[in-house]
């Protein structure tokens, strides 16, 4: 037992820790935006009457949700390499995270779309709105507002899951931690500091999403009320 903890050797590496944290946030942000778009189209596809389109979207969701992210990252990484595409580790990481979170977003958005009452759509038709207007004003925006809390916790989980991309040497926070601990031999202190940084990042993301929610959905409505 030599319980003489020394956090200073870890803390004096703060510039690289900061760099890693910034890359982690960037990866999360890119995957959130792109995965959100994939998810919205995936959910529209799943609900479309066309059996082939909804089948493909359903298979995508099931394939992603029932395999580990680690394996998905390796498949994207080596799959792209085997067809001759040499991309940087960070690009591959962002792509794999987008594919992953897109499937979860599809499922969440679909639940949101399903929660829109038929009468709402009929009312929209009665008012002479076009198909596109109905999808935007009557289905998409209210559904988005309703599943917003579920979506945001999914995106925070995505930020935490981005740590797995350290395995293809994307230099985000966990990869930085691995480097620091192999350099300082202070594994315990390093991972404690990094764990707390992740807690801080997830609190920051939660606060950010809350503020964004207040901004884009000004009329706060109680969730689950019949609409």
């Amino acid at each position: 037992m030599n319980l003489n903890l020394d956090f200073s050797v870890v803390l004096e590496r703060w510039p690289s820790l900061l760099e890693g944290a910034v890359l982690t946030l960037e990866l999360a942000l890119i995957a959130t935006v792109l995965g959100g778009i994939v998810g919205i189209f995936g959910a529209i596809g799943r609900r479309s009457g066309h059996p082939l389109i909804s089948g493909i979207c359903g298979a995508y969701v099931e394939a992603i949700r029932n395999t580990p992210l680690l394996v998905q990252i390796f498949l994207v990484y080596f799959g792209l390499a085997s067809i001759g595409l040499q991309l940087s580790a960070v690009t591959v990481a962002a792509l794999a995270l987008t594919i992953n979170v897109g499937a979860y977003t599809t499922e969440i958005m679909r639940a949101g779309f399903d929660s829109i009452h038929r009468g709402q759509i009929e009312a929209g038709e009665g008012l002479g709105l076009s198909q596109a207007q109905i999808y935007w004003h009557v289905i998409l925006l209210p559904a988005l507002e309703r599943v917003y809390p579920a979506l945001t916790s999914q995106f925070v989980l995505l930020m935490l899951a981005s740590s797995v991309t350290s395995q293809i040497s994307a230099e985000e926070l966990t990869a930085v931690a691995n480097y620091i601990q192999s350099d300082t031999y202070r594994a315990f202190e390093t991972y404690i500091v990094v764990a707390l940084l992740y807690v801080l990042l997830s609190l920051m993301m939660r606060a950010g999403f809350f503020a964004l929610g207040q901004l884009i959905f000004p009329r706060r409505r109680r969730l689950g009320t019949a609409l």
Binding site: T67, P68, F74, L75, A150, T174, A177, A195, L201
Partner: protein, 223 residues
């Protein structure tokens, strides 16, 4: 080395699959036990206990499993505790799973209607009797579908034990790949095996949910 994928490789993958199942069950058992205590702590009358368990859940849910894994496997030996890959993986997963299952079960306990508590109190049952004889039997029915859904997350998350050198399914794939170097091919097989493990459980969870008339949605966590 080199050569083609043969029966020995498949046998090795099967062995890895077995360890994935063992590790998942260990994580479910350990995480379930600790998670149950966390859930009880979250609804305890004692404010300090509620506060401590809530802090625990916040901390663990704000930390990636991978970092917990590294902290256990590399961090503990650095301050003098030697630990095997299996023990490190099982301990990390137990901690991780307990925070999520604890929250799922707290939700289930709190969703038992309030009058059930009051009726049990009116029958002069003690707090322990109320919890174990009235509330928990009903909470279990509510908690079953999301808990089964979360078991899928546990199976997927055991793949991260590969980073501390525990030879489960993902790691045995990496080992085979080191000799054959056909990564896309091998990881596709690995993905199919994980899918075969997880998909039936996902289906079961959804069927249970529909039967319970609960809103849809698996416990959400990518990994």
């Amino acid at each position: 080395m080199g050569g083609a994928l043969n029966a020995n490789h498949l046998l090795f993958l099967l062995q890895g699959t077995l360890w994935t199942v063992v590790l998942s069950l260990l994580a479910l058992g350990g995480g379930g036990l600790v998670g149950f205590l966390v859930a009880l702590g979250r609804v305890a009358p004692n404010r300090g206990l509620r506060f401590a368990t809530a802090g625990y859940v916040q901390l663990i849910q704000g930390t990636p499993l991978l970092v917990i894994m590294f902290l256990t496997y590399f961090g503990l030996p650095a301050i003098g505790f030697r630990i095997s890959p299996l023990a490190a993986a099982a301990a990390s997963l137990t901690v991780y799973v307990s925070a999520y299952l604890g929250e799922i079960w707290r939700g289930a306990i709190e969703s038992v209607p309030r009058p059930q508590w009051e009726a049990a109190e009116g029958l002069a049952l003690s707090r322990t009797q109320r919890m174990f004889m009235v509330i928990l039997p009903q909470a279990i029915r509510i908690a079953t579908p999301p808990s089964v859904g979360f078991f899928v997350q546990i199976i997927k998350n055991t793949s991260l034990a590969s980073v501390v050198g525990f030879v489960e399914l993902a790691r045995s794939g990496q080992i085979i790949n080191n000799s054959l170097f056909e990564p896309f091919h091998i990881y596709s097989i690995i993905a199919v095996i994980y899918f075969a493990l997880c998909y039936p459980i996902s289906r079961l969870s959804r069927r249970l949910e529909r039967r319970a008339g609960q809103p849809r949605g698996q416990a959400l966590a990518p990994a």
